[in-house]
Amino acid sequence: MTTTDVLDPSTPHLPGEPAAGTRSLRGAIRDFFRNRMGLIGVAAIVFMLLFSFVGPLLYPTDQIHPDLLRITRPPSAQFPLGTDQVGYNVLGRLMVAGQSSLEVGLAAAVIATLVGTIWGAVAGFVGGWVDSVMMRIVDALLAIPALLLVLLLTTILNPNIVMVIFVLGLISWLITARLVRGQVLVLRGLDFVQAARQFGERPWRIVTRHLVRNVIGLVVVQATFEVANAILLFAALSFLGLGPPPPAANWGGMLNDGLNYVFDGYWWLIYPAGICIVITVVAFNLIGDAIRNSFDVRLRTK
């Protein structure tokens, strides 16, 4: 699925409910490593990282110069996954394409997390009309389909990799902002904060101290989902022909090229890149779910 938009893929939490309990970080980490699905996710991501970044060192291929004498060759000993329409080695291209896909996903999620956390925290702290205005802006951006925004911005800006990261990061922070704001509001209303206020301590200092601990689980979980979503959006963008132009490679762009050969039976141009995307996205979602379960005491009792 390409967007994300409002659909946090797994929302058993009601708004305003503290999702991540006050669990010790160490306990949460221990629980995470007991979660089989989470470990499978981690293993898959480690594999994809090695495949994309170490793979080209062990299996160097020319992904810059087309070779028109060996186009769309089927898999063979020389080319384990065949060659594409301009003669690139598909296996080697999968590795190089993985680099940009993973880089875009991770970097966009970092930007989104930073912007979202700051936005949500400020809205929650300040409150009043500032909060209202800030959250209405979030609502407004959520009302525009993410893909529409990405397409709009990439037609205006040049589609190089840095710009794509920037654009994806700047449209992916909305859910994080909502979650962090909700958490800040909950903390502000808690008794011990109210009590501290009576004693003359500055409430926002207490909140910051506890906020970091309470919000970190929530934000990390959302960040893993955002990585997955950014990878999907980047693939969709490249599929629609608005990604970085060749010889730059990414999985969505490879599928766009393969689309022309659907009726020729050139399966090696259609399956491998799609499978890489699905594995990576599933893995990040599994990790996100596992982290949430390890932080959330409430869910485990069920």
Partner: protein, 317 residues
């Protein structure tokens, strides 16, 4: 209820206002100008000045914004350079075709996802639940276009059952004239949507299964089937009302890709073509209309929810 209504409506108006400001701002940060786009790169400075004066582009920004809102208010969404038509008439032609695609996918997705989520909750942590969860996980992780390509490979290239291209033709009647061509686009969008909806439905049903009223229903001797249809279904379905509104942007994003992939001449296809042609009035006009549809959709969903479940009103009033 009235207080809740007033609050939600005024929030929606505020959101629409901000959307219009965002779109207006993007229009103004565009490289080039409407005059250049309209008159071509060889236009003389005099002609550009005249065009700007005639269209109010030489006024102060706030005035221009008000003029823009005024045009929107009169249903004037702008004029497409690429298609040489008003954006409004393009929309009138293509919106119904997208509505057919999206509407059919929504209905099918709900018909599949609701029973699926309930069954999963009832058979929680059993093989069936794990299988269906795996399905929705993969469905969620699958790029929409890749799913579409796989369906084309299987049903068009291999089995020759359905065409790989959506129904062609200018009017919505063409879509109904050739229902076979609609199968693959609708199937693609439906599968992706089911993957999202079923996870919500399962979570909602699991929450409800833990409630006391379910224990009561069981205690008075209802069978699982009776309990599920009479009590569980009704209560678990409520959050789905909100979800239908909230998911509209996501489903429309999917529709852009599906229309581009299957060459189905709806709104998404037009938007995609307009990005290639840098036809900004079309892009902006559509963005405004889709955002407005989403905001109004969410508003209606919330009102429907509040009418169906009085608890919402009291909590949020």
């Amino acid at each position: 209820m009235t207080r809740y209504l007033v609050r939600r409506v005024s929030q929606s108006v505020a959101v629409l206002f901000i959307v219009s400001v965002i779109v207006f701002a993007i229009l103004h940060f565009l490289p080039g100008s409407p005059a250049r786009a309209m008159l071509g790169i060889r236009a003389t400075p005099g002609a550009i000045a005249a065009f700007n004066a005639a269209n109010g582009y030489n006024r102060a920004l706030p005035v221009q914004y008000l003029l823009y809102i005024d045009r929107l208010g009169h249903g004037n969404l702008g004029f497409s350079y690429h298609f040489d038509q008003s954006v409004g008439s393009l929309l009138g032609l293509d919106l119904p075709k997208t509505a057919v695609l999206v509407g059919a996918s929504y209905v099918l997705a709900l018909l599949i996802a609701i029973p699926m989520g309930i069954v999963q909750a009832l058979r929680r942590e059993k093989v069936l639940d794990h299988t269906l969860t795996a399905f929705s996980f993969v469905g969620y992780a699958m790029p929409t276009f890749w799913l579409g390509i796989l369906l084309v490979v299987l049903f068009s290239a291999t089995l020759h059952m359905f065409p790989s291209e959506g129904p062609q033709g200018a009017t919505v009647a063409a879509a109904f004239a050739n229902p076979g061509a609609l199968v693959l686009p609708v199937a693609t969008l439906t599968i992706v949507t089911v993957a999202q909806f079923s996870r919500f439905m399962r979570a909602s049903a699991v929450e409800n299964l833990l409630q006391d009223y379910i224990r009561t229903a069981r205690a008075k001797g209802l069978s699982t089937w009776q309990m599920a249809t009479r009590h569980l279904l009704r209560n678990s379905i409520l959050p789905i009302i909100t979800l239908v509104g909230l998911s509209l942007p996501a489903v429309l994003s999917g529709a852009i890709i599906v229309e581009a992939l299957f060459n189905y001449p709806g709104m998404g296809w037009l938007f995609w073509t307009a990005t290639g042609a840098h036809d900004y009035p079309v892009l902006m006009g559509f963005t405004i209309v889709i955002a407005a549809a989403t905001v109004i959709g969410n508003l209606l969903a919330d009102i429907a929810y509040a009418m169906a479940d009085p608890r919402v009103r009291y909590q949020q009033a």
